[in-house]
Amino acid sequence: MACPSCRSGLGLLRGPAASSTLRQGLFAESTTTTTARAAALSFSQSSRTSSRRSTNLSQQQSRRIHTTRPCREGESGGGLAGGFRKLLASVAGNQSSSYIAYGATQRIYKDCAKQADYTITPEDRKAGRVKETADGEEIGTGNGSIWHQEFGLLPTFSTWAHVTMLHLYLVVVRLRCLDKDAHATWQAQLVDHFFHQAEEKMDRTHDMSSRVMRQRYLQDLFVQWRGVVLAYDEGLVKGDAVLAAAVWRNLFKGREDIDVRTLATIVSWMRNELKYLDFMEDAGLALHTTLFKSKPDAEFSVVDKLVPSLEKSGAAADVEGVAAAGEAEVKASSQKAAQKPKPTPKFKTAA
């Protein structure tokens, strides 16, 4: 009955007294509901509201029934806006920010951890179907990510840990650019999330109920984490060859049958991500849904671009599939590649 069309209908009722009493009754009803609602709010707010309404009752008889509360600016804990401000303040190194950093770093950590995630179902374990590597590591089922498919890593705990640490390392390099306090808070929280879930994985996925065993593995993992940060920092500063060697030693565990093209792809992806993080504002750490611009397979085209020495030697022509044998033909094909190639039909077409 408070909408304008209904209220205009009130004026059609016989006699002004009837309309005024009706409006009074309606207004009284809305007052009681308002005060009932106000009672649920804080004490100071409700007393303010009800006192304001009682004095203005007579004055507002001719005005519309519904009145909105005026917007109170500068109110603390103002819902979404207040939370947003606190989040940004935490990145700037606010003293009370460690609670805010917990949630933000948890979101960042989950983004890192899902990259090479894997599972071992309890049914498989009960049925004794869980396979092991030569070193005794349990092999689970991967989530189909590039790390398990193209890069040939087995879906084990150590693969998951190293891929996660690689992503965490990229974030840590960016976190170093915050203030000293904010950097300490955010990095500590991020690493805590990782170790917390690592222990959870050992317990739940790998059925390691002994706390002593878990503690021993966690200490080993911590040493690996510190080693990873040192090695990748060294590679970041010194060059691509050193970074590739670091990735080989840590992520691929220094194995002999390593694919150099894979190493180059991962190095290229790491440098691309670091450049992206370099451009990111501090607020982006708190606000972006993901800190990673792309997946490593986007770098294959960058890696496969031929170096000048291989291009000159006619390897480019060879890759196009020109049949060549002997040195003379290699030279000729490199000359031909410079000219426009004439298409030679391999099959006789009807036309």
């Binding site: 000293k180 060294e234 691509d240 060859a241 390593i258």
Partner: protein, 131 residues
């Protein structure tokens, strides 16, 4: 791939691996040593001995060889460092501007430290003064 191209690739591999930077901190675990050993064992082929590569055809294997050599040379010429060059403040972090210069100095000094030098460093790390 013709024999000439194969010889050229083998020579390129050997040159690249000899130019690879030596790691003073991890002398027993060097990438170039492993790759050189693989080269001599497989008669100048850099392809790893995995199932993914073993089931390729002859032509595909040759193309894969070129890609491996190309990857090796691209890492040596620092292609990715120059393509994705850091232009901002990432290498001069606000929390500790001397972080990377201290790291490089430490990495140079660490392999040559004596036993007492290492003990002194460890004690200094235990007793740290807050600035």
């Amino acid at each position: 791939m013709s024999g000439a191209l194969r010889n050229l690739a083998a020579r390129q591999y050997q040159r690249a691996l000899s130019e690879w930077p030596r790691d003073a901190l991890r002398p027993e675990c060097q990438l170039q040593d492993v790759l050189t050993k693989r080269l001599t064992k497989n008669n100048g082929s850099l392809l790893p001995n995995t199932s993914a590569f073993n089931k390729l055809t002859k032509e595909a294997k040759e193309q894969a060889e070129i890609k491996q050599a190309n990857a090796l040379l691209s890492l040596l010429e620092n292609r990715y460092k120059s393509k994705y060059r850091i232009t901002g403040e990432l290498l001069k972090p606000k929390s500790n501007p001397k972080y990377y210069s201290d790291l490089v100095k430490e990495l140079e000094e660490a392999p040559n430290r004596t036993f007492f030098g290492r003990m002194a460093k460890r004690l200094g790390g235990i007793i740290r003064f807050q600035s």
